[in-house]
């Protein structure tokens, strides 16, 4: 399997006033295409920052991030946006749906910036909502959906641009354990279909779903 993501000697330092906080301290990591991995660590360990590096949301202070053979460490914000829009689907702990849009509209949002036609967008979004069993919920707003339903809408949104990678930040953090199980199974199925899945969590129960678990502590992989 070829490399999807190479992280080489990555440091991330935040300047808080006069104090420098070293959140990542020389992280090396390789992720292959089609892998299902979990990144585990307690809060403050730097796992969210590592997720930002892996998902091209942020660039390192030092070191190199190579995504699908391309060095993204020095890309401009707009270039990173293009990489994210085409290749990465996001699932967040707080769902991060737009409250005043319907489920269908929320799912179509990422395609707007890709210039997809409206008819095509809605067709794709509808079939994705169907695949997560939310067909009867297309016109509902997030306020009218349960936590599990919201997360399934978020999954549909993450898939709408057919990305190679799904990055999930505590995807089961705000739902009950039964719903969490359902969500993890959806992710497992996606992985079986060939998508690379990266799940960042502090929940050891998610480890069995993954091919590999990476543990991070104090900004370093242990």
């Amino acid at each position: 399997m070829s490399n999807l993501l190479q992280i080489e000697g990555v440091w991330k330092v935040y300047h808080l006033g006069k104090i420098d906080v070293e959140v990542l301290r020389g992280v090396d990591l390789n992720i292959k295409k089609g892998e299902f991995i979990t990144v585990l660590g307690p809060s403050g360990s730097g796992k969210s920052t590592l997720l930002n590096m892996m998902s091209c949301l942020d660039t390192p202070t030092k070191g190199r991030v190579v995504f699908e053979g391309e060095d993204v460490s020095h890309m401009s914000e707009d270039e990173l946006a293009t990489v994210r829009g085409k290749n990465i689907g996001f699932i967040f702990q707080q769902f991060n749906l737009l409250m005043h849009l319907t489920a269908l509209e929320n799912v179509t949002i990422p395609t707007v910036f890709q210039g997809t036609s409206r008819a095509e967008r809605e067709k794709k979004a509808t079939s994705l909502l169907d695949s997560v069993d939310l067909l009867e919920r297309v016109d509902h707003r997030p306020g009218e959906l349960s936590g599990g339903e919201k997360q399934r809408v978020a999954i549909a949104r993450a898939l709408v641009n057919s990305p190679d990678v799904i990055v999930a930040d505590e995807p089961t953090g705000n739902v009950d354990s039964k719903t969490g199980e359902k969500i993890m199974n959806i992710l497992k199925d996606l992985n079986k279909e060939g998508k690379t899945v990266i799940v960042v969590t502090h929940d050891e129960d998610l480890v069995p779903y993954a091919d590999r678990a990476i543990r991070i502590k104090d900004g370093q992989i242990v």
């Binding site: 930002n52 998902s55 949301l57 942020d58 914000e77 707009d78 946006a81 293009t82 994210r84 829009g85 085409k86 996001f90 967040f92 991060n96 737009l98 005043h100 849009l101 949002i109 990422p110 707007v112 910036f113 890709q114 210039g115 409206r118 949104r157 641009n161």
Partner: protein, 403 residues
């Protein structure tokens, strides 16, 4: 794509509807002022210029006193004497001279008595001027004959002053009876239409004033240059006063009708620019309101901006979303302002038409409306520029973390 931004913008405006409407109101007021004031002042200008245009270009107005002080001259009772008028008549190139003094007198028709403005018009020397150059005409009956105690009445006299007055009726003015031979065509303003013009001799008999007129209008004969004749009249008047009465600096204003039109046109123009400028300032104030609202909106939607960026929105996408939104605020305000402005202007037009001093036709032109809409949209976009820039420059990681 722009359609999608439009949908997002409308949705956001609805979500924050109270604030959106208040912001829109700021623009509505500005555009409302521009549309109503500009269309009305244009209408006033049209009315005044039309009245002036009714005067032919070959007329010269003579008033005593300085033109810069015209109002005090007219109200303050300075008058031209008979010898001044005779001097004007003798100038080469002067074809006819109209004297036109006025006075208010009680006029009786059957049992009714009303105060009315009387004009003395020198029928022998100046009647051709009012008929041919000032557009006087009768809509009913005929012009009166001189020396037969006949008069005509302004267009509104049979409507407002003596509702049952008919051609052939008699009016009594200070004990003298006059036969009404005609009803005049409207002269374009209420004051003149309520007046009763009469032969100068009859006027003088009634008022008891033997001479004097606050204004004389001379007509230049064909083949003579208006400016030259104007200058000749000035010299003739100065001569009369200096030689005849020993004044050292007599003051007269001698103005061709074109010069009057120019002066009035200029004054109106300056007035319109002032009106326009003040109304525009209120639009700018409205624009500042939009900027304020958009900044608040950007801060409240920080997380949303982070989400949009995470799923692939570039800076230009975020900028567009906010610009479309502020542009829509401006445009809706513009539409509201145009509607209210047109309504007010038309309302005033109707009100004045039903009994005001002037008849004004509100001048609502397509360019004015397009300006109102275009300018409001522009103000909306410009006002949204800085907030949109701030939104587009947010770092996705920071924005996503915002609670």
């Amino acid at each position: 794509m722009i359609g999608e931004y439009f949908r997002i913008a409308v949705r956001n405006l609805r979500v924050r509807s109270m604030r959106s409407w208040l912001t829109i109101l700021g623009i509505v007021i500005g555009i409302f002022l521009v549309i109503s004031l500009v269309s009305l002042s244009e209408g006033v200008k049209d009315t005044v210029m039309n009245e002036l245009d009714m005067m032919g270009g070959n007329l010269i107005m003579v008033v005593p006193g300085d033109i810069s002080d015209m109002m005090t001259t007219l109200i303050g009772g300075l008058e031209l004497e008979d010898r001044d008028v005779d001097a004007i008549k003798r100038v080469r190139g002067v074809d006819a001279v109209l004297e036109m003094p006025w006075a208010s007198e009680m006029v009786r028709h059957e049992q009714k008595a009303r105060m009315s403005l009387l004009y003395g018009v020198s029928y022998d020397s100046g009647f051709s001027i009012v008929r041919e150059d000032m557009g006087w005409d009768v809509v009913e009956g005929r012009f009166p004959h001189q020396g037969r105690r006949e008069i005509m009445v302004g267009n509104l006299v049979p409507k407002d002053l003596f509702p049952d007055l008919q051609v052939g009726d008699q009016l009594t003015i200070k004990g003298s009876k006059f036969t009404v031979t005609g009803i005049m065509r409207s002269l374009g303003n209420r004051e003149d239409d309520l007046a009763i013009p009469m032969d100068l001799d009859d006027f003088r008999n009634i008022t008891g004033k033997r001479e004097g007129t606050p204004i004389a209008i001379a007509r230049v004969a064909e083949g003579y240059d208006v400016e030259t004749v104007e200058q000749e009249i000035r010299y003739a008047l100065e001569d009369t006063r200096v030689r005849g009465k020993g004044e050292d600096s007599p003051s007269f204003s001698v103005l061709s009708s074109d010069a009057v039109s120019d002066i009035v046109g200029n004054v109106m123009g300056v007035l319109q620019i002032a009106v326009f400028a003040f109304a525009s300032i209120s639009i700018i104030v409205g624009g500042i309101g939009i900027t304020n609202t958009m900044y608040t909106s950007v801060r409240e939607r920080t997380r949303e901006i982070g989400i949009l960026k995470a799923v692939g929105a570039k800076r230009k996408h975020i900028t567009s979303i906010f610009l479309v939104e502020s542009g829509i605020i401006g445009l809706i305000g513009g539409v509201g302002g145009v509607v209210l402005g047109v309504a007010l202007a038309k309302g005033i037009e109707l009100y004045l038409g039903a009994g005001g001093m002037f008849y004004i036709e509100a001048h609502i032109s397509l360019p004015l409306i397009l300006f109102g809409l275009g300018f409001s949209f522009l103000v909306g976009c410009v006002s949204g520029l800085l907030p949109a820039r701030r939104a587009s420059r947010m770092q996705p990681v920071d924005a996503l973390r915002y609670e």
